[in-house]
Subunit: 139 residues, 2 copies
DNA sequence: CCAATTGTAATTAAAACAATTACATTTAAC
DNA sequence: GTTAAATGTAATTGTTTTAATTACAATTGG
């Protein structure tokens, strides 16, 4: 199972959005997402760095949304918490006697970069608010 | 480093495309891609299943391209060798007392699926032939 | 027959990752 | 000011993935 961080982060953001204004602790969030409070807190730190949430330390501390759900795209969440590229180019040295295999690495990097952009563009089109509406729709 | 299989596979396909018609053994391909012959052979099996290459067993065996590079998109290579989705939804049971957290999993699956489609659509637009031209361009 | 190669299983080694434990720090409430 | 509850953060553990490797039966050209 891969990219769980992103899924967790979106889930956390959705829970926070459901009770905007209310400050929710990592224990409750962890129960909601079904993981460990420490995992949640680490994600919240990343989300905070991206200004997507605000956190309060100390007693009755916790987190709340940093801005309106309609102004938060999944791309921002992705950028905040996802450390890995979708396609990673193997960093080893290429072949010696190369038919342009020297360029291979460069060309693959371009493919990797453009793919990353395609993913981010797609996620940019989905806001947290849209997600909430879909979650509320009983399907 | 993630998704190396895809990068390896594209590299292998590029090498095969450079000498179309010629049958190249896993040893040579492995040297080109700088990995192990067995890794190459496993990838070739997947690529063969997708009809992207033909392999010949026995003495002087090896692989060659199955069709014209202009008819091979990176999407086909991706589909052939990539077992993992770009975004994987955490399979655990959701929260009991859910504000529609029951729907959360479904909604995230939709996001994961549409993202996968976005990646595949992007890769569909890049053919092996285009890649070869770019590799030959001395940059 | 023989040498070279694929096809494939099994094993090993390394890397990535989630989960957990532990604890110092912060802060509200009393 | 003390206390209880929470965050922030480091360190550790255990599991899962993954690439690499070894080994060998099956295939095939010469």
């Amino acid at each position: 199972m891969v990219n769980q961080q992103f899924t967790f982060a979106v889930h956390i953001m959705a829970v926070l959005a459901f009770s905007s204004d209310e400050v929710i602790g990592s224990r409750r969030l962890a129960a909601s997402v079904n993981t460990n409070p420490v995992v949640v807190r680490r994600l919240l730190l990343s989300l905070r760095a991206a200004r997507l949430v605000e956190t309060l330390a100390g007693r009755h501390g916790g987190a709340r949304l940093g801005k309106n759900p309609s102004r938060i795209s999944l791309m921002k969440i992705y950028d905040a918490v996802e450390p890995r590229p979708v396609i990673s180019v193997n960093g080893r040295k290429a072949l010696k006697r190369c038919h342009g295999s020297c360029n291979m690495k460069h060309v693959m990097s371009c493919v990797a970069d453009s793919t990353e952009r395609a993913v981010r563009k797609h996620l940019r089109g989905i806001t947290l608010a849209q997600l909430l509406r879909r979650i509320n729709t009983p399907r």
